[in-house]
Symmetry: C2
């Protein structure tokens, strides 16, 4: 536990600014600063930028917490956080820890963002390992979330059960889902399918749900398969971080491939170009639901604070949405709810 005092009340958190790593992401600082400004001006969310003044440049009127270093996109995460104590990522995490910001957002080095959040804000009591929750679109409904989307390549069954608890608390806090459903990613519906890890996790989740669904706060719906992810019948899909990351990137890659292929067909000749003008107004809103920029980014769960990990390719819109999600989750007491979900499930 690195937190220096009590967690601020929701009222206090609502007034605190969101700390934005101005130097994180492929489009930093331009799009990052622009997105932060739009969150502030268009949505009234207080924002503070963090970064080296000479690199950030024009802050568009936003407050800047100055620091002297930046952790690069490809830098070793743990080493970067350890060595660069005055980096934008580390300083942003410290603002949350010290009660000077309600949440942090970065589109920078994912591993370093995780490390900064974990090391500076600290783990919530009882949490074995933080995990990353990434939204999966469901047309016309609130997104499902995949946990763990890549924080932990190696997992135990106890960790996966906690991912389920934390994921359930997250969809409650973010989407207002009551009694969320949880599915376990496997290679068949039967409890006997999968790796030893998956089979053990299935037993634990089935037992905990049966033994007292109220205390755990979710309903376990059993195994799901890869073909169930779009759209997911469960609000939360639990898996280890290796499978989660491969799966997520497979989804991203296949959808992008198909969109690109379709756009290629649209440009074949005059007739297809004309036809595409009719269809695109219908297709673009659908495509938008799959764009990372509209989902507000991934959430690091299990730390004592709110930390949004945005896509490295985030543009201004993505950053604005990430700031809004961060602010909303902080104000709704996400960390408290995650802590309560883990605590209530652990009788010790």
């Amino acid at each position: 536990m690195s937190r220096r005092g009590e967690r601020p009340s929701p009222e206090t958190l609502a007034k605190l600014p969101v700390a934005v790593d101005a130097m994180g992401g492929d489009k930093a600082p331009g799009d990052i600063v622009e997105g932060a400004r739009r969150a502030a001006e268009q949505h009234g969310v207080a924002v503070v930028l963090v970064g080296p003044p000479e690199q950030v440049g024009d802050t568009q009127g936003l407050e800047l917490v100055a620091c002297s270093e930046v952790i690069g996109m490809d830098e070793d995460p743990a080493g970067g956080v350890r060595r660069k104590k005055d980096s934008s990522l580390v300083r942003a995490a410290e603002l949350v820890r010290d009660g000077k910001a309600s949440a942090m957002v970065s589109a920078g080095n994912t591993g370093a963002t995780m490390a900064a959040g974990l090391l500076r804000m600290g783990r919530l009591p009882g949490v074995v390992r933080p995990c990353i929750a990434t939204p999966l679109p469901r047309l016309g409904r609130t997104p499902a979330v995949l946990v763990d989307a890549g924080a932990n390549a190696e997992c135990t069954a106890a960790m996966l059960v906690q991912f389920a608890q934390m994921g359930a608390a997250y969809v409650c806090a973010r989407f207002g889902t009551e009694s969320p459903s949880v599915g376990l990613l496997s290679i068949g519906e039967e409890p006997t399918k999968g790796t030893p890890l998956v089979k053990e996790t299935h037993g634990l989740l089935a037992g905990s749900a049966g033994g007292g669904a109220g205390s755990v706060g979710f309903e376990f719906v059993g195994n799901l398969e890869g073909r169930d992810l779009l759209p997911s019948p469960a609000d939360v899909i639990v898996t280890d971080g290796f499978t989660g990351n491969v799966t997520l990137k497979t989804l991203e890659g296949s959808l992008r491939f198909l969109f690109d292929t379709m756009l290629g067909v649209f440009g074949t000749d005059d007739a297809t170009r004309e036809a595409s003008h009719v269809l695109l107004p219908h297709l673009l809103p659908l495509a938008a639901q799959f764009e990372p920029e509209n989902t507000g980014g991934a959430m690091l769960l299990g730390i004592d604070g709110v930390c949004v990990i945005s896509h490295g390719s985030s543009n201004a819109t993505a950053m604005m949405n990430a700031v809004l999600v961060a602010h909303e989750c902080a104000t709704r007491g996400l960390a408290d709810q995650v802590a309560a979900a883990v605590r209530s499930a652990d009788p010790a």
Copy 2:
């Protein structure tokens, strides 16, 4: 080794019929028999059906090897093969073992097909575990193959290295690919990314490729991520059977979801229906490359014979293509080539 004698020569194999499990798959026996007949009549491939005569019904003039049992789609695979010694799956595998068929094809219970192939034909010398190779489309090129697509939920690094060898031999035999490239599915390009299993496998593949690419017969191109699968830059993608199965079903599910969504948009109103008439002739050939029915099914590698595992939803076209692939691979000596690839890589 269950084989009773020497493997037949390619010339002999080319004349032997392909054994088709007439009772396997959701559309058995109707579409299965129809597909087998088309392979025989339209492509001159000899075929023998296997199944209980009273259940198969009209054989459309094809020879039928009679048996008395059928292993159900949801039946326990190992138990089914053990108990039902006179089942269509077991008898089909025995025809290959006994040199009476060049290959077998089934769209039935995947696990039972694997078990029948493995237990009746036997493992090739030196093969630790057979694996399933499934084609992934690459528009305008020969497909890539994913190994293991689901045979082994638990794997060792030595097994993954063999999957690479067997997969490379398969794309050589089936597509004529010279010096195929092999990628390892992970969560980042760097050799340090992934589970201990992936990291160990990376080291072994990098070492074996560097130490004597000629003897192994493939080029190791390093780690690939989920977003690289469509289209895959490598001819063979290696992963454990759990990740492989989840990934494959994720691909299937996301592409189906997007096609369905697009078809929904096409039917919105008269204008979109008209536009769709212009675009569909361009889109359908693309979509066809993603249809399981056109890929000829998955191949069980590492057994002493040729065994094609078709999708449970296989229609007559899918079955015809599966029979053609089975015949072609048997005639080209797939099992011999897989055996040689494993043997040459093992100095013992």
